[in-house]
């Protein structure tokens, strides 16, 4: 009860009435919680006995609840992680053209969309995808830099032309952002059967 202000600081109606026997109920509760056995007066006095029993009942309920096993729902991890990811990169976004005010799309999500478009072509796999927005241009156009791996023996010229075409189409159709330039780096080749 160390946190209680001095009785003099309290307004008159907030002061706690002592028990009918004249003892302070808070002191009785404190002693009950501390496990002190009731003294002679408390054993005999019906008011103190009642207060003592109340304190012990509350104590047992609190202990029972404290020992209960909490079962967090299975989705906790997912929800926390996706919230943390969103929070960590709040500014890693591309601006979408909109007459109604600020509209943005997460840059990693946009990169996933473009990589997904590239992966539809047989013979190449997208690795990294960097998107840089050209802020000076009103249309919000972007420059895309891709690294890809190609199947060994494939003719690179038509395939990269196709990659370029699909990235531009995905930018317009899935994102709504015009693609101004596509740089494609073929960084590796793979053999058939492995990817």
């Amino acid at each position: 009860m160390a946190l209680n202000p001095e009785p003099g600081d309290l307004p008159a109606d907030a002061r706690i009435e002592p028990l009918a026997c004249g003892r302070d109920a808070a002191l009785v509760w404190d002693r009950a919680e501390a496990g002190t056995p009731p003294d002679e007066h408390e054993r005999a006095c019906p008011h103190c006995t009642a207060a003592f029993a109340d304190a012990q009942r509350l104590d047992s309920v609190v202990h029972r609840m404290a020992t209960q096993e909490l079962e967090p729902p299975s989705s906790v991890m997912d929800r926390v992680l996706s919230a943390v990811r969103t929070e960590l990169r709040p500014h890693d976004v591309l601006t979408l053209p909109s007459p109604h005010g600020p509209a943005r799309v997460s840059r990693p999500a946009a990169a996933t969309v473009l990589r997904h478009a590239v992966d539809r072509i047989s013979g190449v796999w997208a690795r990294s995808c960097r998107i840089e927005q050209v802020t000076a241009v009103e249309s919000r156009a972007v420059d895309v830099t891709l690294t890809v791996t190609a199947r060994f023996g494939i003719d690179l010229t038509p395939v990269t032309a196709r990659v370029r075409q699909l990235v531009i189409a995905a930018g317009e159709q899935a994102l709504g952002i015009p693609v101004r330039r596509v740089d494609i780096h073929v960084v590796d080749v793979f053999e058939d059967g492995s990817s």
Binding site: V80, S82, A83, T86, V93, A103, R104, S106, H116
Partner: protein, 123 residues
Amino acid sequence: MTEPGAGVPPVRMHVSDAVVARVAAQQAQRVPGVVALRADLGQALLGIAGSVLGQDRPTLSADGVGATVNGRSAEVSVTIVTRLGHNCRDLAQAVQREVAAEVSAYTALDVHVQVTIADILPP
């Protein structure tokens, strides 16, 4: 708004941030292409705390929406998740348009909506 001398005391209504946020969240979820609203860290933790403690609040969720009422206007920010196949530019504009229209019809505030697409799920 009230005629002077009519004997009716003038009514001044103030709409709180929470009202704007909840109305905006309901409307944003109805826009085709919006798969979910993405709660920020604070909202996610509060939601988890609520479900662990067994508080099944019958209130409307405002997860993923932030709102500030400033006099006669309101700033709303909505964070959404969509699915591949919806054009992000068109979706963002539709959310801005529909949320602004709904909140402004409900609260008579001048509403500006900011949209962030946080994630695009595979089809």
